[in-house]
């Protein structure tokens, strides 16, 4: 909220510079987001010398003055009593603009020409406490621009108030807070002087007292509504409000001054007495913002006998608003139930200065005092004939708040401070409505505007705030510790990250959102979890896979000139599950581009499926019972992301508990969608939650043989449809106890290999734990392997 420093000073005699005030406000818990200086709200006003004053020929109360500025003489009609020859005054010449946008023009007043206006301080928005014209210091140079001579006259502080401190959302409210902080008493304004009611008050009825615990109404007649005086217009403009007309401006002024929202209806536009009720189905209203709102039964309204005339606590209706034509008005000053107003405001997506305060909670007492203050101003500013009724106060019975019982010892216990008891008490006395002592116990009653004070903890914060948080010591109490271990989920995620980074992949962080379009491009044709209020279409759903994010990242990096991309991400994915959502932690990776390419091996090679498979094998080292199945194998099962992968170039990883993940190349349509047809990206995604369930085995030492191993290379000629995995299975299945390991050392087709065949070279390692194998034993073992390979696969040794 914008706070005009001079306005604040009307309530509290502050001397410190605005910059220092901003610092203090921060220490009180209110951030000042900007501090600006504001020059006078008028232009074209110069210092003039009054040469002569004569009585106006046609009007008793007016005088005809001649004012000299720079040897030019201006005839000016003036209504002030204190004008006299020889004075230096502020002359608004033709063309000058006064606060509120009021432009001075050449005019005739009661038949006499007037070329300007002699201004009061009030008319210039410089104060409201001076009657008559502003008699300036005689030393002021005639002709000097008044605005320029005043210089930077005022400061505006944009203060951010936390939602619990609605009581500070006015100049009076902030002054009250600072009064407690600085221990300076508020300037007490004289009580409003309001004559007894001269007319009857319009009827109204509160049908829902829970939603509207207090409603103060008052009627006015004989109004003359016009532009506001300069001081009022200038004040509103300084806090960012546009002056509209005197009556509306008064309500806005008091909102900013006292924090109580008011609303004035044009009584002649109301059809019958008004009532406070919830809207009926189908009701609509055009509000002051010229927009039509369809009201729901959750919206509290003010209605006359025919229609809603205001969205209670949020915004008035356009058609019953006060205009310059208004002669009779009805003024509302109410206290509404905060959640009720918030519900209406949210249902209609409509916020206002009034709803901002009502939904945070206003002061029920202020509904009465502000109505009085408003009446005083309306009678003063809205025409000589203005008359008012008595106020009618419709108030639901309220239970008196129970006092908070607290001791200074308890407050020091919460804070860990050592404030003396009398200091605690005197702080609390600065902010209480009443404080009674019973021995050590203080019975603290909060003022009606401090809805946030309810417990000893609240009072502890007040004491700390007023004393300054810096006056609470730093301490670290010893603390009973329970044994703590890292969570399995944390351990698995950490280990996964470290292993993959060690294997050359960089870690990516993507948003959890995905658009419909990208999901379709990735061929993820499943039901997605939709966000009800997404930021944009781009963020319409929660991701069912991490792979789309990595594809986007790969595209971005290729666009930026990267050749090799190795990325991974650990994150959550979201899958519909019954009526709810199942979220699980996965890791995904993407590899593409040249590998091992550098000056000693300039051609390098291209990362391919087997690199991705290798990364996964390393990642999953130590996982027991892992099987790899082609996606096309029925036993592989279905997974939501399958359509993204190339069906003939992808493998499913399975554990006994279920599918662990997938590794493979992209489906050509997906590759095309990301313009990566040529890159041959390989991707994988693994369910880490499944690994978390798996209790990780503690690594144990396995002894190795001290005797030398023997190895034999077998170059096999075999059908090119044979799968290496089957060949390997046959070798292992030959029942050779001495076989230690099998390694594929070469695979090729083409030159020297008959069509339809492939050459596979495998190296077999043999050994025993307790002795060296004899040559003949190795040879016999190889023979048995060869026999099996021949029998199962028709494999023969290449000559």
């Amino acid at each position: 909220m914008k706070i005009l420093y001079s306005w604040l000073k009307e309530h509290l005699p502050l001397e410190l510079p605005a910059q220092d005030l901003a610092e203090r406000l921060l220490q009180l818990g209110f951030e000042v987001s900007s501090l600006s200086t504001r020059g006078p709200a008028f232009t074209g006003v110069v210092a003039g010398h009054v040469l002569s004053v004569e009585k106006h020929p046609n009007a008793d109360r007016l005088s005809l003055c001649v004012v000299e500025v720079d040897s030019e003489k201006y005839p000016v009609v003036c209504g002030a009593k204190n004008v006299a020859a020889g004075q230096t005054i502020a002359l608004a010449r033709v063309g000058a603009v006064l606060p509120g946008g009021f432009k001075i023009t050449r005019s005739k007043i009661r038949g006499v020409e007037s070329q300007g206006m002699i201004c009061s301080r009030k008319e210039l928005g410089l104060g409201e406490d001076v009657d008559g014209i502003w008699v300036m210091d005689p030393a002021t140079a005639v002709g000097q621009d008044v605005a320029a001579s005043l210089g930077e006259s005022d400061q505006i502080l944009e203060v951010e108030f936390t939602p619990n401190r609605s009581d500070c959302l006015s100049h009076l409210g902030l002054a009250r807070e600072l009064s407690a902080y600085f221990r300076i008493p508020l300037r007490q304004k004289p009580a409003p002087v309001v004559p007894p009611g001269a007319i009857p008050c319009g009827g109204f009825k509160v049908e829902v007292p829970q939603a509207c615990p207090r409603y103060v109404g008052r009627s006015f007649e004989g109004l003359t509504i016009g532009p506001s005086p300069g001081w009022l217009a200038a004040k509103l403009e300084s806090v960012g409000l546009r002056p509209i007309n005197s009556l509306v401006d008064i309500t806005n002024y008091l909102l900013m001054d006292m924090g109580q929202p008011l609303h004035a209806f044009d009584a002649d536009k109301l059809e019958g007495g008004i009532m406070v009720r919830f809207a009926k189905p189908g009701e609509k209203i055009v509000a002051l913002d010229e927009k039509e709102y369809a009201l729901s039964e959750r919206c509290l309204v003010i209605a006359d006998q025919k229609k809603p005339v205001a969205i209670a606590g949020v915004m008035g209706g356009r058609d019953t608003g006060v205009t310059e034509k208004t002669r009779r008005a009805f003024l509302e000053s109410a206290f509404f139930d905060p959640p009720t107003i918030r519900r209406s405001s949210q249902a209609l997506r409509l916020k206002s200065d009034a709803s901002h305060r009502f939904e945070r909670g206003t002061d029920p007492e202020s509904a009465w005092t502000t109505s009085l203050r408003a009446t005083e101003l309306i009678l003063k500013l809205c025409g000589r004939d203005a008359r008012s009724s008595e106020a009618v106060d419709c108030r639901a019975p309220a239970t008196a708040p129970s006092p908070i019982r607290v001791t200074s010892g308890r407050i020091n216990e919460i804070l860990g401070s050592v404030f003396p008891a009398d200091a605690v008490e005197s702080s609390l006395r600065c902010i209480c409505a009443s404080l009674e002592k019973q021995g050590e116990t203080m019975n603290f009653t909060a003022p009606s505007y401090r809805r946030d004070l309810a417990t000893a903890w609240d009072l502890a914060e007040e004491v700390a705030r007023l004393a300054g948080y810096e006056n609470i010591p730093y301490r670290t109490a010893p603390m009973a510790l329970a044994p703590s271990r890292a969570l399995p989920a944390q351990t698995v995620a950490d280990r996964t990250r470290r292993r993959l980074a060690g294997l050359g992949l960089c870690e990516a962080y993507n948003y959890d959102f995905i658009s419909d379009k990208l999901a379709a491009q990735a061929r993820l044709q499943m039901r997605l979890i939709r966000v009800k209020n997404p930021l944009s279409e781009e963020y319409a759903n929660l991701r069912p896979s991490l792979l789309v994010g990595l594809l986007n990242n790969a595209r971005l990096n290729l666009n930026n000139g990267a050749e090799t991309v190795r990325l991974f991400e650990v994150g959550k994915i979201y899958i519909p599950s019954g009526a709810g959502v199942e979220e699980s932690t996965h890791v995904a990776g993407l590899l593409l581009g040249p590998a091992d390419k550098h000056w000693t091996s300039p051609r390098g090679r291209t990362l391919d499926f087997f690199d991705a498979k290798g990364v996964l094998s390393e990642l999953l080292t130590g996982i027991q019972g892992l099987t790899w199945l082609p996606l096309s194998d029925a036993a592989a099962g279905q997974a939501p992301c399958d359509p993204l992968f190339h069906p003939r170039a992808s493998l499913r990883l399975r554990l006994a508990q279920g599918a662990l993940g997938t590794v493979g190349m992209l489906h050509p349509a997906v590759a095309r969608a990301w313009d990566m047809d040529r890159e041959q990206a390989c991707l994988f995604q693994i369910d880490l939650d499944l690994l978390t369930q798996e209790e990780g085995p503690q690594a144990k030492f396995t002894p190795f043989s001290v005797f030398p191993q023997s190895s034999r290379d077998l170059s096999l000629l075999i059908d090119d449809t044979a799968r290496y995995g089957d060949v390997l299975g046959t070798v292992h299945g030959a029942g050779i106890a001495e076989l230690r390991d099998v390694e594929l050392t070469d695979k090729f087709t083409g030159q020297g290999v008959p069509t339809g065949k492939q050459s596979l070279t495998v190296r077999l390692y043999f050994g025993l734990a307790d002795r060296t194998l004899k040559d003949a034993e190795v040879t016999a073992a190889v023979e048995r392997v060869l026999t099996e390979l021949q029998r199962r696969h028709g494999a023969i040794l290449r000559s």
């Binding site: 818990g29 959640p339 918030r342 470290r498 294997l503 966000v531 929660l542 930026n560």
Partner: protein, 354 residues
């Protein structure tokens, strides 16, 4: 055929101990030549080995006389071979040292190495410090209920405090994306009896337009300590220790009042600007301070919601943004860089450096 008589052995010995063997050792020009000479003279099938084998055929007396001579000869020849080998090796080394001419200024060939994301690195550093301070780790779901995200945290429906955290809701189900990791604190307190110290790191979501300073997805670490007699002073001391561990032992901290529905009293925690040291610069908006954490004493309503008696237990809670800390430590100018995954960005941050 082995010599078996003494005369035969003596004649073989004389032949062997003559100058020829010594000369051929001395004249070997390569290690290979030397090896051939050694095999010839001392190998398994050499004359010397034959003599040694023949020794056992002799009488005890002959053996006593003859064996030491043979052993001495063997030792001598072995020593000669060893000496010659050392000479040849030394000159071969010299040649190799002279001949090799590598251009060592050629670029290194580095194995591919990945990087942990800077946010992972930052988060790990923070959790490491807090772990040393006795906090254990808790996790919870991203998708939450109103109860855990708001109501149990003293943020009722239709309360203006909800404006502090704009929320993403899910379609068709009464669920939302958590706006803070505080729900994990509630879940922890529901399942564990105090005393406790726990941190809840993780990803959170706010309905905020994305720009250089805002992200709709970001990361937090929230902490919670509950015990008997914990006070606001403990909160101050603990957080100062944490911030000094994180930013350096001379880091200055400032606590000022604030408002969070789930803490009372509440505080914002600032650190002296790490860029200008407090004199005022654009990084701290000329204030000399940088807002870094929110904190406060756990609100009695929160304790009531999880069944802890607020008259017996007290505690403090705090939250710190991982991105915010990373930005300060790494000098990253734009939040969006963390989520673009440009390799030129990711490769800059090495876990040893931060």
């Amino acid at each position: 055929m082995s010599p078996v008589t003494r005369a035969e052995l003596e004649s073989a010995y004389v032949k062997l101990s003559g100058p020829r063997t010594r000369e051929s050792i001395a004249s070997a020009r390569t290690l290979a030549e030397l090896e051939a000479v050694r095999v010839d003279a001392l190998g398994r099938k050499s004359a010397l080995t034959e003599i040694l084998k023949g020794l056992k055929e002799l009488t005890l007396e002959d053996k006593r006389e003859f064996a030491p001579k043979i052993q001495a000869l063997k030792a001598e020849l072995e020593q000669l071979v060893g000496r010659r080998r050392a000479e040849l090796e030394s000159s071969a080394d010299e040649a190799s040292l002279q001949s090799l001419d590598l251009d060592l200024t050629l670029p290194a060939v580095t194995p591919p190495r990945g990087r942990l994301h800077p946010l992972t690195q930052t988060l790990e550093e923070m959790t490491r410090i807090l772990s040393l301070m006795g906090f254990s780790w808790a996790e919870g779901p991203h998708i939450e209920t109103e109860r855990y995200n708001f109501e149990a945290l003293n943020i009722p429906e239709h309360h203006a405090a909800r404006d502090l955290q704009d929320t993403f809701y899910l379609q068709d189900v009464p669920l939302l994306l958590r706006t803070h990791t505080s729900p994990v604190q509630i879940r922890t307190m529901e399942s564990v009896q105090p005393p406790l110290r726990v941190i809840c790191p993780g990803r959170v979501f706010r309905h905020e337009a994305v720009d250089a300073a805002h992200s709709a997805v970001f990361h937090q670490i929230e902490g919670l300590a509950v015990d008997k007699g914990i006070s606001f002073a403990d909160l101050k001391g603990t957080l100062r220790t944490f911030l000094q561990s994180l930013f350096g032992s001379s880091t200055k901290t400032r606590f000022r009042p604030s408002y969070f529905p789930f803490t009372e009293p509440s505080a914002e925690v600032d650190v002296r600007c790490l860029v200008c040291g407090g004199s005022g610069c654009p990084a701290c908006k000329r204030s000399g301070w940088i807002e870094i954490m929110g904190a406060g004493m756990v609100h009695p309503s929160v304790f009531a919601a999880v069944g802890y008696d607020p008259e017996v237990w007290s505690g403090f809670a705090f939250g710190v943004g991982v991105e915010r800390v990373a930005i300060l430590r790494l000098g990253v100018p734009d939040m969006r860089l963390f989520f673009e995954n440009d390799l030129r960005f990711l490769r800059q941050f090495d876990e040893n450096l931060i």
